[in-house]
Assembly symmetry: C2
Homo-oligomer: 274 residues x 2
């Protein structure tokens, strides 16, 4: 419940709803009563005004998103957060990245160095009253550790993607940028993991952006279907950045689960008020 | 995309949005443009009028829900569907039950008898252009079979509940009304399943509705936490009918995942337009 100090006991407030029209997002205020309304009861409000009922408030649930590579490029930093917001407009995603690792996490050593930084960012996010923490990497780095030290939900992109895939079918193929699927995904998929692959010649997500890379990703998806997969789980959040899931789905003719969309779905759901 | 035969190329339509205020649901029409709008692009419309842009349309995605017990009591039949609709107002749930099994599925024989009936209902739902099929039983009866014969998503309550639990933690305890968790849940949870139980003295969901049954359910939830569970997955959809998840969550101090809410979440997500 949000309390407005000094406000009337039943305050009239304006809630901004987002409508997607003609491919762009517009905001349209609708009038609701503030007190007792389930609508404004859904977590943090990002208030624009001192007395929100006077001039309108934007009702969003604030969640933190951790990128496990260092970048000063805001576009890159916020790429996943924007994707989550576009699919779940009730969420306001605050993206932060770990320090001093411009190449991100690529082996056990860099993973170990990143861990305390992830924990620090997560603790910060809880202190700042965010309602959930997304770790936006298919390896789920730091997810277990964070769950031990914060009280808000911590959701990893890898486990979310594997979980969402399992809700859709029981024979899952993973498409990543490394030979095999991340351990956390293998672990959840267990015997349901029927095939793992990556596009030929692709080693980083940048390779996916070339015509050749994209073509090879489509072939890899087809290969997974031929190997018996009913559902493809994308085992790298880089696929979300290039928004290829739908093309892959068309090429392979089976559902393709995007890791960032999956983690957004769970973040949205877990921060809703019951 | 919805086409209105004979309609203007860009039709003005009214979309009904549901607002929950003061505990009751009211409908408030808002005006949107019909053509090109993402809002009305989300699956089946249950149209009240021949030309919906003239008098307003109700935009809902229609999904089918299969109950695996025979009942003529509409309240009982629609209990799960109403729960799904209340949490995901974009969905219109059509509930149907299998014939001649008033006691439902309780062993291998009754499960085998039910299977062709479930498949028949699912095929019917696809023919009637429903956008997804929910099998509302934690055993996921017929889910695999249906996936082989229909093209729309088929989602089982048991697998959904296990999946949603895994997105939230890695040590899961199940609370059902039988000794162990359903096979489909064990199968998905694998090594993440740390404990399985049922409330003392409870054999059917009716037993849960007594004071004694509820008290024992709360103790069982506490037992699961003490045994090391980080998350509780409800292994029977009957818990949804009595709406006990939140009380269990308070008693145990760990997240409790409701099977009907989980299956609703996936049905909602899978029927959204990308």
């Amino acid at each position: 419940m949000i309390h407005y100090p000094g406000g009337p006991p039943v305050a009239l407030a304006t809630r901004t709803i987002l409508l997607r029209e003609y491919g762009r997002t517009i905001e349209r205020p609708i009038c609701i009563r503030a007190a007792g309304s389930a609508l404004i009861n859904s977590g943090a409000a990002t208030s624009k005004h001192k007395y929100p009922w006077e001039k309108g408030i934007e009702m969003k649930t604030k969640v933190g998103l951790i990128r496990v590579l260092t970048t000063k490029d805001e576009n890159l930093l916020e790429a996943h957060g924007r994707l989550v917001e576009s699919r779940f407009p009730e969420l306001k995603v605050e993206s932060r990245c770990i320090d001093d690792q411009p190449k991100g996490i690529y082996d056990e050593k860099t993973s170990a160095i990143a861990l305390p930084k992830i924990l620090k960012l997560g603790e910060e996010m809880e202190r700042e009253r965010m309602k959930a923490i997304i770790v936006s990497c298919a390896d789920d780095p730091g997810v277990e550790g964070l769950r031990n030290i914060v009280k808000i939900p911590v959701i990893g992109a890898g486990s979310s993607c594997a979980c969402l895939a399992l809700s859709r079918g029981s024979r899952i193929g993973t498409l990543g940028i490394r030979e095999g699927a991340p351990r956390v995904m293998k672990d959840i998929l267990g015997e349901h993991l029927v095939a793992e692959t990556r596009p030929e010649g692709v080693k980083t997500t940048w390779d996916l952006m070339t015509g050749e890379g994209k073509k090879n990703a489509l072939s890899a998806a087809e290969y997974l279907r031929k190997t018996g997969a009913e559902v493809i789980a994308l085992a790298c959040t880089g696929y979300a950045t290039i928004g290829i899931a739908k093309d892959l789905e068309r090429a392979a003719g089976i559902p393709v689960i995007d890791a960032v969309e999956a983690v957004g779905l769970f973040a949205w759901h877990l921060t809703r008020v019951r």
